[in-house]
Every structure is written in structure tokens, then in C-alpha cells.
């Protein structure tokens, strides 16, 4: 039988895998070929680069000045000077080892919010809290286009949301949004946070919603939308899910496990047994 795939060793120390073309069907690092039994140099170095980018995403500080400058110039930016806040984790090493510190504001930040509440009588329905989390890159790349999709839709309808000035937090974790929402006396808080970066997704942003934010609320009181980025859940789709959750939360006056996201298409919609090319159907 004539073979269609190259099968004979040549002088090349790297043996290619004829199934490498299957990479068009998955991002998994399949068909790398081998030098002996080891990963060929080309793929070894590509992996190191991806890991380096993921590490940089974790350790590069959020460029808050640049972000604020960009966001306040947008027509949809909520009114009021953005608030710059910091968690009790003073630096990244402390942040990584003490998740409890990342969930609470430091004293200076508490004061900023108390002063704000004292000076403004504005009643807020919603506060957006923008948090570096584990990937500043995710925030820098996704925040403007995502909010540009979401905020105009929230402020235009028959029941426009009254939105607090944008809050920016350094060294923060998801639960810090509850501390901020409580001090601003906002009915609802939406945290936008850089998620734990993967090798193929260093720029993934997460969204967490709490109705009635208060320090000490657990994950059971939050709703989450994950993997917001152009190559993951795109902005229009993420915005649609966020509006759904926000409207449901406002209607039911709650969030978390009692508020189900029913916007998901059924997971089995695209089910097709022929997808498994390993099994012959003929």
C-alpha cells in the first residue's frame, strides 16, 4: 500500500508528526514532532516564550494612569473622578501568598471612599470595580472595549442605571468589590478582574457581580462571566450576558446561586458523532 504520510527517517534529527495538521482543530500543542523522544528546539522555545508572557502578565503592574486617561476621554465614562484604590497586600509577593489581604482595602483607600460618600449624595445603583488580579494585561486590553459595549446599554434604557465613578484597585482579589460597594453604598457591584493567565490565554478577564455588596459575602452570592477576551468570550456576547445578569439581579434583588445564567446555548447543540474522526462510521 502506498503511504501518504512521510514515514521514513531522514538525516534530520527531528521527526515530524504527520498528524500535526490536526492543529487546525485545536489549540492543544499536538503534533510537535520529536528529537529522539524530546520536544524539538523550535517548540521548546515557543513554549518558553508563552510561559514568559504569562509570567509577565502576572507581575507587570497595572498602568492605571494610562487607563484612566483613556477611559475618561470616552463619551460613556461614568461621571465623577475615577477613584484609585489599593488592597492591604502591599506588593505582588504578599498578594500571591495572602489572598485575605487582597480582599480588603487598605486604610487610605477606605478613607477615600468614606470621603467620597460624605461629599457626594449621589445614590448609585451600580459600581464598576476594575482590579488588576492576576493579569494586568487582561485589564489593559479588554476594559475599554468591554465597558464601551456595556455601559451605553445600561445608561440608555427605560430604567437607566446610576453608575458610580470607576474604581481602580491594585493588588486586588474579587471579594474587594464587596468592600468597595459597601462603602459606596451601591446596590450592586461588578468586579472586572484579570484572571489567572494560561499559556494560550494571558489576557483573560473575568466579571463578578454581587447584589447588595457587603464584606464577608462568599462566592455563593456572586455570578461570574469568565474568559472575556477577543479570542474567548467576545465583547458583544459578554456584554449581553452581563446585561442579562444585571437585569435579573435588579428584578429579583439578589445574585449568586439563586440567579441562574440561562443565556447559555445548550452545550450539546453542536453534538455530532462524526466529530470523532478516530472512529469510522463507514
Amino acid at each position: 500500500m502506498k503511504r501518504v504520510f512521510p514515514t521514513h527517517p531522514t538525516n534530520d534529527p527531528v521527526i515530524e508528526n504527520p498528524w500535526q495538521r490536526l492543529r487546525e482543530f485545536t489549540d492543544a500543542r499536538i503534533g510537535l514532532g520529536r528529537a529522539g523522544v524530546s520536544v524539538p528546539t523550535k517548540h521548546l522555545l515557543a513554549f518558553q516564550l508563552a510561559h514568559a508572557q504569562a509570567i509577565d502578565a502576572v507581575h507587570t503592574p497595572l498602568n492605571i494612569d494610562g487607563l484612566i486617561e483613556n477611559l475618561v476621554s470616552q463619551s460613556w465614562c461614568p461621571k465623577g473622578q475615577p477613584l484609585r484604590l489599593h488592597s492591604r497586600a502591599e506588593h505582588r509577593d504578599m498578594y500571591l501568598q495572602r489572598p485575605d489581604y487582597g480582599r480588603l482595602l487598605n486604610k487610605a483607600s477606605e478613607q477615600i471612599l468614606e470621603d467620597h460618600a460624605y461629599l457626594c449624595d449621589d445614590k448609585y445603583d451600580l459600581a464598576f470595580v476594575i482590579v488588576d488580579g492576576l493579569s494586568a494585561l487582561a485589564i489593559e486590553e479588554n476594559i475599554a472595549p468591554f465597558l464601551g459595549e456595556l455601559i451605553p446599554a445600561l445608561t440608555s434604557g427605560p430604567e437607566p442605571w446610576r453608575i458610580a465613578p470607576l474604581c481602580f484597585v491594585e493588588q486586588g482579589r474579587v471579594a474587594i468589590g464587596d468592600h468597595i460597594g459597601q462603602l459606596l453604598n451601591a446596590k450592586c457591584v461588578v468586579v472586572l478582574v484579570g484572571e489567572r493567565p494560561g499559556l494560550s490565554s494571558p489576557d483573560s478577564m473575568g466579571l463578578y457581580l454581587t447584589w447588595g455588596p457587603k464584606v464577608g459575602k462568599t462566592d455563593a452570592y456572586r455570578n461570574c462571566i469568565s474568559n472575556i477576551r477577543p479570542a474567548g468570550l467576545n465583547y458583544p456576547e459578554a456584554g449581553r450576558k452581563a446585561r442579562y445578569l444585571l437585569n435579573e439581579a435588579r428584578t429579583k434583588q439578589l445574585s449568586g446561586v439563586q440567579l441562574k445564567d440561562r443565556t447559555d446555548e445548550t452545550a450539546l447543540e453542536h453534538d455530532n458523532d462524526n466529530h470523532n474522526f478516530l472512529i469510522s462510521k463507514k
Binding site: F25, D27, I30, R196, L268, H275, N276
Partner: protein, 471 residues
């Protein structure tokens, strides 16, 4: 480090100074090699000296004391009850006179060959294993771990000396069947997958689990592969899958070492018993009936705020009592997955991986290790090379195999298909014998030289042509 000696349960005097520890739990925690999770919990030694003194103090504790002083109250915790009620006094007899320090010497000595270690197994509690591990160096953990032989079987035989198995982990962020099939093919061609072909589903519900089980079952049957499949979904989902007639080989569950941890995971011992019975009723194993696959990892109890102020390594060892009860085919400590707040860097991950493997093997479990790290931990692929090699020397039951080390669904890095081949070549470790035969028969792997053949087996070549074209 105070003069008020009355409040201390354990004391140790060095020169003029007396160090005290209020409870066995505190003594265990302070004696634990440094790690971030114990610092986060506030139970770690405050100084290096205090840790060393705690280790000396712990070495003097008789093993018998662990049967009298439980770390989590008997009344409150079904795992404590399991440990105490099922303790085998006869098996314990040969070591019952020993202290923790004496136990270390005994384990390392010629008095404890593999057959003896197997004999005393049921007499060792998780707390005894954890205690002795705290005063053992890495090489001790490796040497004794290697002496503990644990054999299990389903469609092949896992854990024979001189063998190392791999879990083929073809995860995909949307559970796309073509993507999953591509990763399975890649893994099989690199001689991976004898421990299990196991998928972490992206969409975690019963319908999806059934779909993935069916897909893997078809592949295993079509190519007549002597291995087993598993969808890593919640145990209650798997019970439903079995009720719906899905082809379930192994039942998966993440387990922890306190009842409160497992409550937070949404199951108890009765749930696991029900699931095991259901899987056994399918009679799908051909050479054995070990039908459970458990995953563990230091830090899970603290993460669920269910640690009772016990150090994370002791909590982890208690999870092995749960595993042991249900005769698993595989147990996997997912050592670097939980993140740097529990294991900060490569050094802490390495230590924890060796501890977990040692404790589990000593208690008679088929322990494998997800040698892994996340991108926010201070670790890299070199740390994984080191731990993988150390574990392979220690006789680790299995490691993960994933395309190019990159899990595109769970966003972390573990060992690759290539890594498994490296460790086979470097240390002469073979896959499970039945799978090894299949690899040889399929012309994939040459188990004399531990090399891969150049050609694709004809059965797989046909499938490839189907999707890539050609004739």
C-alpha cells in the same frame, strides 16, 4: 518559649530554654517543613529553630498516641471515625512500640522490606504517616516510597515495580470532540494513556459527561486498547450517568481529609460507597475491579475553611483514609495546581509532591502525581523535570501526559507526552504490561530500547486520512 509550662502538652528543653506545644495538632504543624499554606493558616512555625525543635519533639511521640489523641473530634468527623474504627491492631503490632523517630529508622532499615511494609499497612494511620514524613528528608521519602509496592487493576495492571503509567489528559476548552480526539491520538502515538484516558469536562453536567464517556469508550473498543476511561465530573453526576446507561469505567471524585472539606465538595462516604457499588455492578474491568479514581492536594481543606487548624499536609494524609476505604485504581495528588498561597514555589511543590507520594504509598494507595504549576507560582518546567524525575525514582504510580505540557482548558502546565518518554528512557520504566503489549503489537513503541517507531500504525493512519484527506 515561655516559662509557663503548665499550658503545654509537649515540651522540649534545649540548654536553658524550654519550648512548648499546646496540642498534637500544633506540634505537627510546627514540625512541618515550611510552606505558604501553613503560614496563611497561621499554624506554621514562627522561626526555623522552633520548627527544628518541633521536629525533635515530634520524634519522641509514641505512634500509639495517634490512636488516643485524634486531631479532629471523633464525634464531629466521619473521617476520624473511619481512621479509628478501621484501625487494624494486628497489623500495627510490629510497629506499636515505636516513636515517630524510631518509625523513621525502622522504615529505612532492613527490617522493613516490601513484604513487611505491606503487612503493617493497615496498622498505620494517616496521622502516623504524616508525622514521620515531617522528619524525613527528600531522599528518605523516595527510598521508602520505592519500597511500598501497590498493585491495582481494571483493564490493565498498574503499579508493578519497574513500571510507570500515564494519564492521557485530552482536555479541550469547549469539549470539542475533534479537538479531544486529536489530543488522544497524539497521546497514544507517544505511548501515553495506560493509567487512564481522563477528561476534565469544560461543561460539567450529566449530558456532557455521558457524551464524553461514550466517545472515549468507542475509541478504546475500536482500537482494542487495554486501558480505561474517566470523565472527571462530580460523583453524583457519575452515578446519574450509570443510571442512564453510560459506559462508566472509573468513578472520579476530588476528596479532602476532613468531613467539612468533603461537605463543601458536596459528598460524603456514603455517596462514594453508592458510586463504587454502581460502577462495580457494570463489571467492565477485565483484569481487576478497582473502579475509583480520586484526586487530592494539599491546601484543599484550608481553601474550604475546613482545616480545624491542622497543617495542610496532615489534612492531605487524612484524605488517603477516604481513598483507601474505596480501593481505587488511581489516586492523584494535584500538587501544584492549587496555587502559590498554598505551595509558593518549586521547592515547596517538590517537597509536597514527595510527601504526598510517600504517605499515600505507605498507606497502600496507587499514588500518582500531577506534577504541575500555575503561572502565578514561582515555578517552571525545570522544577517539573526535577520533581517528575524524583517521583519516577520513588516508584510513582503514574504521571499526567498532555500535549506539550499546556492544558488549554484548565490553564496550567503539567507533564507532557514527551516527558513520560524521557522518564521511561532515563530510568527504564515500562508502561502497564497489557498496554505495553498493545503498543508493541500496534507498532508504536519499542519496549526494549524505549524508543518510538517512525511509522503510524495502519489503523490510525486510516483515521487520519479520513480527516486530513489522501488515499
Amino acid at each position: 518559649m515561655t516559662n509557663d509550662k503548665t499550658q503545654f502538652r509537649f515540651r522540649h528543653t534545649v540548654g536553658e530554654r524550654t519550648f512548648g506545644f499546646k496540642s498534637l495538632a500544633e506540634l505537627m504543624a510546627k514540625a512541618t517543613p515550611a510552606r505558604s499554606g501553613d503560614r496563611l493558616a497561621g499554624v506554621a512555625a514562627e522561626t526555623a529553630e522552633q520548627r527544628a525543635i518541633a521536629q525533635m519533639t515530634l520524634a519522641d511521640v509514641p505512634l500509639k498516641l495517634f490512636l488516643e489523641e485524634v486531631l479532629v473530634p471523633y464525634e464531629d468527623d466521619e473521617i476520624t471515625r473511619l481512621i479509628i474504627d478501621e484501625h487494624d491492631k494486628l497489623a500495627f503490632a510490629p510497629i506499636s512500640h515505636l516513636t515517630v523517630g524510631g518509625f523513621r529508622d525502622w522504615l529505612l532499615s532492613d527490617m522493613a522490606p516490601p513484604a513487611m511494609l505491606e503487612k503493617v499497612r493497615a496498622g498505620i494511620t494517616p496521622e502516623m504517616a504524616a508525622a514521620v514524613s515531617k522528619i524525613m528528608r527528600n531522599q528518605d521519602l523516595i527510598l521508602v516510597g520505592k519500597k511500598c509496592h501497590v498493585k491495582t487493576a481494571f483493564r490493565n495492571t498498574i503499579g508493578l515495580p519497574g513500571h510507570l503509567s500515564t494519564r492521557l489528559q485530552p482536555n479541550h476548552p469547549t469539549d470539542d470532540l475533534t479537538g479531544i480526539a486529536a489530543s488522544i491520538l497524539d497521546g497514544l502515538m507517544y505511548a501515553n494513556g495506560d493509567a487512564v484516558i481522563g477528561i476534565n469536562p469544560a461543561t460539567d453536567n450529566v449530558a456532557q459527561a455521558c457524551r464524553l464517556m461514550k466517545m472515549m469508550d468507542e475509541v478504546i473498543q475500536h482500537y482494542d486498547i487495554p486501558t480505561q476511561s474517566c470523565v472527571l465530573t462530580h460523583v453524583t453526576n457519575t452515578i446519574e450517568c450509570i443510571e442512564q446507561g453510560a459506559p462508566v469505567d472509573l468513578v472520579f471524585q476530588s476528596i479532602g481529609g476532613t468531613q467539612a472539606t468533603n461537605d463543601s465538595f458536596g459528598f460524603n462516604l456514603a455517596t462514594l460507597a453508592e458510586a463504587r457499588d454502581a460502577a462495580l455492578s457494570l463489571k467492565r474491568g477485565t483484569v481487576g475491579d478497582n473502579v475509583m479514581y480520586f484526586e487530592t492536594g494539599q491546601g484543599s481543606a484550608l481553601s474550604a475553611n475546613a482545616h480545624h487548624n491542622i497543617d495542610q499536609q496532615t489534612c492531605e494524609a487524612r484524605a488517603y483514609a477516604v481513598a483507601r476505604k474505596f480501593k481505587p485504581l488511581l489516586v492523584n495528588t494535584v500538587v501544584g495546581f492549587i496555587g502559590p498561597e498554598y505551595l509558593f514555589d518549586g521547592k515547596e511543590i517538590t517537597r509536597a509532591g514527595l510527601e504526598d507520594h510517600f504517605c499515600a504509598k505507605l498507606l497502600g494507595l496507587p499514588m500518582g502525581c500531577d506534577v504541575c504549576y500555575t503561572n502565578h507560582a514561582q515555578a517552571d518546567q525545570n522544577d517539573m523535570d526535577n520533581l517528575m524525575t524524583l517521583l519516577a525514582v520513588a516508584g510513582c504510580t503514574f504521571i499526567m501526559g498532555i500535549p506539550g505540557s499546556d492544558d488549554i482548558m484548565l490553564n496550567y502546565q503539567t507533564t507532557s507526552f514527551h516527558d513520560a518518554m524521557y522518564v521511561r528512557q532515563a530510568l527504564g520504566l515500562k508502561p502497564a504490561p497489557e498496554f505495553d503489549q498493545w503498543l508493541k503489537h500496534s507498532n508504536i513503541f519499542n519496549d526494549d530500547q524505549f524508543t518510538l517507531n517512525h511509522q503510524i500504525p495502519s489503523a490510525f493512519e486510516k483515521s487520519l486520512k479520513r480527516i486530513l484527506g489522501g488515499h
